[in-house]
Symmetry: C2
Subunit: 191 residues, 2 copies
């Protein structure tokens, strides 16, 4: 049962048919296997991906070569390195599939052309940015500021109840910025 691109687009902000038709032609449907990289450090992020199925992790590699996860996105979510995207600078992070995944992609340059061309589409993009980028990044920020590891784990669980079946303890511990031993103890209720 395939999610329709048209529905994803119209659910963000309604576009008149004429604009929608032009927009749809700029998206590609893509399928990639587990472990595929959507983005590698040093490369600028040139796409926005609308996932329809699968899971990804965002991560940085620090000076000691340790991979540090910063976020997971699963199923119906918008994927991009927004910082690299809008600054047009090389990415510092990797985006890697954790499962075989399906998605629609649009190039940022196409998007720029479309917002110049269609007033309605510029309003659509504002909604996307406000609702997806800002709302999500702000949530992550307040989590990081105010919640301890245990609370952040519980919040992650409430966001993705099946995450323990889909993402390894090590990957989750890396996201929580705690050792996997500590996460194991949290799970066992010993903390």
């Amino acid at each position: 049962m395939q999610v329709k691109l048209e529905d994803i687009i119209q659910s963000i902000y309604f576009l008149p048919q004429e604009v929608l038709d032009d927009v749809l032609g700029n998206f590609k449907h893509l399928e990639y296997p587990k472990n595929h990289f959507l983005l590698k450090p040093g490369k600028p992020c040139k796409h926005i991906w609308f996932m329809t199925k699968g899971a990804v992790r965002y991560y940085y590699t620090n000076e000691q070569g340790k991979e540090m996860n910063t976020w997971f996105s699963m199923d119906r979510q918008v994927i991009a390195d927004t910082s690299s995207l809008v600054k047009k600078e090389p990415s510092e992070e990797s985006i890697q599939l954790l499962e075989d995944s399906e998605m629609y992609a649009i190039e940022y340059t196409s998007l720029q052309t479309l917002i110049q061309k269609h007033h309605a589409f510029s309003l659509w993009y504002i909604k996307l940015v406000e609702l997806y980028y800002i709302a999500q990044i702000e949530d992550r920020l307040t989590d990081l500021q105010f919640l301890d590891a245990k609370q952040r784990y519980q919040k992650l669980l409430s966001l993705y109840p099946d995450i323990t079946n889909r993402i390894s303890l090590g990957n989750i511990a890396s996201y929580l910025n705690i050792s996997q031993e500590t996460l194991s103890r949290i799970r066992a209720g010993k903390i």
Copy 2:
């Protein structure tokens, strides 16, 4: 020597004269004394402020009643609780002046009208959001994830070299999420 609103606006994204004229009429010039609140928790954030002079802190009050600073903005910066603004939900944070300050303000509802009315202004707002909101929030996020207290302090100092003369140690320690004793020891080079 007053910063001109027109220059602030045009530096973000160039607007044709006709649009600029309409836009300028929607801004108010404001002056407030030290300790004034631009925003209090429970109230939705309804404005975007363009500071021209002064300093503010953003902070949350946690369950124990402790105030936790999340950000400082000084002089020429854009101020808003972007999360409350775009979600149109009550704010969870306070924005308080730390110095007598001057700024221009626009209501979010006026801004919405203007982006519907002028295609050029919707493109202006996209630039504002991309360059100010996203770039800044992403920077804060990566700082929080990867830098320890000392590194975050040094980064804050490089961003605002005169911050120690303008903002108290306690306020800065709260932002760094460390005790003020620890910040004092960092300053003394004992850490």
